[in-house]
Symmetry: C2
Subunit: 308 residues, 2 copies
Amino acid sequence: MILTVTLNTALDITHRVRDLRPHTTHRVTEVTERPGGKGLNVARVLAALGHEVTVTGFVGGATGRSLQEQLARIPGVVDALVPIGGSTRRTIAVVDATGDTTQLNEPGPLIAPAEWLAFQEAYEHLLRSASAVALCGSLPPGIPVGAYAILIRTARTLAVPVLLDTSGEPLRRGLAARPDIVKPSAEELAELTGSHEPSRATRDARRRGAQSVVASLGPDGLLAHTPEGHWRATPPHHFHGNPTGAGDSAVAGLLSALVQHLPWPTRLTHAVALSAATVVTPAAGEFDHEVYEQLLGQVAVTGEVTAA
Amino acid sequence: MILTVTLNTALDITHRVRDLRPHTTHRVTEVTERPGGKGLNVARVLAALGHEVTVTGFVGGATGRSLQEQLARIPGVVDALVPIGGSTRRTIAVVDATGDTTQLNEPGPLIAPAEWLAFQEAYEHLLRSASAVALCGSLPPGIPVGAYAILIRTARTLAVPVLLDTSGEPLRRGLAARPDIVKPSAEELAELTGSHEPSRATRDARRRGAQSVVASLGPDGLLAHTPEGHWRATPPHHFHGNPTGAGDSAVAGLLSALVQHLPWPTRLTHAVALSAATVVTPAAGEFDHEVYEQLLGQVAVTGEVTAA
């Protein structure tokens, strides 16, 4: 199976209102809820592609119970979340008639040292039956900022390919543990390296420890620097819609192709096609299968193989 | 015991943010949750005054379980909420650094006809051990707009004094069933009667069926027209703070004094004192006991007894 780790899971709530005006009262016309956090989105897409997927991370409190109930209804995703005393956070997206979103993100629960240790034990156990692992998103309070470096080293010790998708200091620290793949956005790369030139920043990120760096260029596709070569994968045109979850679908595409031992250009094609097929659907963690299949033949990959 | 009915219970969530700006992302710095709905606030105040209180209404889903867990931690309040298939709604109050609130109110769950019947049975059973009952707040979808009239007739048949605190059409329909007390705000009275002159509107509301009408004048106190006379009760000065729940505390004061068979001027004194003592605390359903005790000797009641 493929393992995804979401240390800072969330219950994502969407509220539709007519017009959000500060300091007034609003009747919410529609409420939707879904399990949230980048690793859960990645898992949902992998399961829809036919992979066996297990999700881990932390879960607790009444919001955590809701999240787990909803997770149980997603076919193909196995719940191996680790219970905590605190309560899983909520995120609230208030969508008004303009279609624009006002986001309220609750802080994650404080993780106790014993809970972090329990997680590491569970993680190591799960890795023993994993063909790949993705470490996704932010860290909740109480988790050391170098947490991803620890989790990467465990995966490398057990020879499980590891993909890291995070930002800021957790990304910087994680890189030093030499993950197989990191998938930053252009902004995250610029923050990490100081360079706003994606190709230079991608190479720089590799020098900092990642074996392969796949930079997301938003609607322009992906840029990859790997030991086998460097490539740029571009969709046939820009897709309009909701970009939330597009990066998570790219991660799912990279992992899916990785466990099938597909070559890098094909991996990038899958990632770009899934990403665009997610933009055209309303919710993160979902994609339009028809658009995905079509795009597999339409993504342009240019680049070159590293001389042996 | 005193019974309070909250057909449209809610889990009240408060989010603190620095500055709410539409179409941006906000980190919530503090999250608080409490069982909400006017009847639950009334019950909390009554319990703090030493009364035995039972709450009923509808509860369901994951949010309902949270609400019940939190309700169980309030000493002196007995939970007799009736389970439903739908999910209890949330309200979200986003408080920014200005102290002002942006309110998001989810719609209530759709109540099935069988659930409404189950409630009416439970309600009639509970009334048999009640010394008074308060019917509070809005109606969830699926409940007939004349619901309060039905509940008032049941209480009157069983000779249990009944107070109605609602607005709009449910208030209009409820009045026709001759509740013992209604407690509208000046705005609700104006909407009902078309008169913005509180004394005239209060008399008019009595003619529509209520035996006693206690109109809330906000920081200026209460105005009451009853079979025994009419009075105005005024706090010694305006109190600054959070007016949420002040009306619910007034209801609690009226009920507390009613079951103690205190005369109307004393009932109004209790209601005004509790109401002001609630404004000075941050949360609905709580009051400052010291302010309350002090104010009992400071509320001015003027008016006259009806000639026999």
